[in-house]
Amino acid sequence: MALDRSRFQLLQGNEACVEGALTAGMRFYSGYPITPSTEIAERSSVRLPYYGGKFIQMEDEISGIAAALGASVAGVKSMTATSGPGFSLKQENIGYAAIAEIPIVIVDVQRSGPSTGLPTSPSQGDVMQAKWGTHGDHPTIAISPTSVQSTYDEIIRAFNLSEKYRTPVIFLMDEVVGHMREGIELYPKEELEIIDRDEHMINGLPYAVGEREYVPKMPSFGKGRPYNITGLFHDSEGFPTNDNKIANDEELRLMKKIEANRDDIIKYESINADDCDTLIVCYGGTLRAVKGALEELESSNIKVGVLNPITIWPFPEEKLLDLSKKVKNILVVEHNYGQILIAVRRIAQCNADIHFLGKIDGTTISPQEIVEKIKEVNQNA
């Protein structure tokens, strides 16, 4: 069979993000320009009108997410994209999306920080902010793609999870992936599972759930019975309440809708993870350097494996716990001062020696540096 060339394109990670989002059904984008995510806004502004979709450049980062949430309430799949400083500004409305249960995808192409930092340099410094950035207890789904193809595939999954669980999904890219160019394969919608929201309310109640269910159905404004949405704790009708039991039940349901579906949400990639002495834990663009290191180590007698979470939050705890019992060393490689390291220590430090290779100077970790660190770890052992 002849190769269908139209399916293959040379794209930058940021561009692939937009193409995947369009395939997933994104028809609204609002945001504010910020390096290194700007190409996502630019391509959205070009491409959305062709699909009858809408693009708007808002006056700031906060309105960038607010308008996207408004469009989502009106029944349109929506996305906003930003980078470090903008991600900080969006946090309050991420919490609003969590409690009001409004689907939205928030892309954060991470750059070196804090503050303005090194605006054009790579980093993975927002991993913990993705989990804890907005105030109060709230569920989090964060996905970190490892390549341009992975960006295209995973942004589609991000939209699906957001619609399925009525929750904000944080798409945690890094500058490496965002600006890398690769040839990738794009799929027609028909070949994919695309999840659209179920608009049929239970008993006419916008926040009611069925037995042993955690996710209410979401009717769009203007398509049925008018109802109320609020960021206050609310009852099944969507109205504010100070009733502590209702507040407790709602908060528990929000947490459980993610916890109870961890198997569906969690995704990771592993290489030789079940047959190694040293397990590398990495994610995002860092996987590229780690793969380079593996090639160099092939001829050595050190057995190295990799666990790369694609879903960063919730973290694949069970898998790491299981692997930690089989290895001597765990080496966490990430472009920050040690963030996923905290999660790895908590899960695995009773079973294995935890080592760390990080970088905070705005340059990328090279395969050679990883090879040296692996050798050092195994010498000391």
Binding site: R27, F28, S30, P49, Y50, Y51, G52, G53, K54, I56, M58, E59, D60, I62, S63, A66, A67, A68, L69, G70, A71, S72, V73, A74, G75, V76, S78, E92, N93, Y96, F221, G222, K223, G224, R225, P226, Y227, N228, I229, T230, G231, L232, F239, P240
Partner: protein
């Protein structure tokens, strides 16, 4: 017994409301309902978006699609709704702090776009929900719990601010002159572009008490005697206008509307829909 109008437009099971006795917000909320009734709008095609504060609790009592958002951001949320569904009548109910302080940036940029939103500011010149701090519309010299010696900030004239930023309909009403305020809201909703109606409310609990304005009834009488029409104000001197509030329609001139312009873009590239 609630009136037929109230039965139709409010979620009566959600009453009583949380506002203090004597608060003017209930009057303004009713004005919005009467305007919607008079315009004969389909309730499912009306969305009320509000922010945070006393004003913004109105949305929950009103029987339309209602979105109670985050502090200052109502206009930004409303922009997304209107873009996604231009058929929807989108009305923003906000307060003076919500619209002009924390949300001031969204206000001026929505004006600039002339997107078809109707913003009604329930303007009580004070932060009521947090207990009486001075706001961007507290008149200079007056007091709040954070301006114990008198407010030294200048105060915004919201219709003038909106007009300068590009709004195509601006007006001011109050709680005493009810039929006129309803008319102004109706005209604001009918304007195919950005409309701002500054609704002067009364807050006897905080603004009134801090500034010795007397009871709610006294404050209503104040509005009766000091809210003067635009035509009357035109013939008054600077000194005569001191302490007065000018009400009426200030600007009403159409201009290209934002969602229409975007629809043209979609058409020009041959986009579907």
């Amino acid at each position: 017994m609630p009136s037929k109008l109230i039965e139709k437009h409010l979620r009566t099971e959600r009453l009583p409301h949380i506002w203090c006795p004597g608060c003017g917000h209930g009057i303004l909320m009713r004005d919005v309902c009467v305007a919607i009734e008079n315009l004969n709008l389909d309730k499912d095609k009306v969305t009320i978006v509000s922010g945070i504060g006393c004003s913004s609790r109105a949305a929950g009592y009103m029987n339309y699609n209602t979105l109670h958002t985050t502090h200052g951001r109502a206009i930004a949320f409303a922009t997304g709704i209107k873009m996604a569904n231009p058929e929807m009548t989108v009305i923003v109910i906000t307060g003076d702090g919500d619209a002009a302080a924390i949300g001031g940036n969204h206000l001026i940029h929505a004006c600039r776009r002339n997107i078809d939103l109707t913003v009604i500011v329930f303007n009580n010149s004070i932060y009521g929900m947090t207990g009486g701090q001075y706001s961007p519309t507290t008149p200079t010299g007056e007091k709040g719990t954070t301006a114990p010696y008198g407010n030294i900030d200048g105060d915004f004239d919201l219709p003038e601010l909106a007009r300068a930023a590009g709004a195509t309909y601006t007006a001011r009403g109050d709680c005493y002159h009810v039929p006129q305020t309803i008319k102004l809201i109706e005209k604001g909703i009918k304007n195919h572009g950005f409309s701002l109606i500054d609704g002067i409310s009364i807050c006897p609990t905080y603004y009134g008490r801090k500034n010795k304005k007397g009871s709610a009834v006294n404050m209503m009488h104040w509005q009766e005697n000091n809210c003067i029409s635009k035509s009357k104000a035109e013939n008054m001197s600077y000194d005569e206008l001191k302490g007065k509030t000018v009400i009426g329609e200030f600007y009403n001139k159409p201009k290209d509307e934002y969602t229409d312009l975007y629809q043209n873009i979609i058409k020009s590239v041959g986009g579907n829909k």
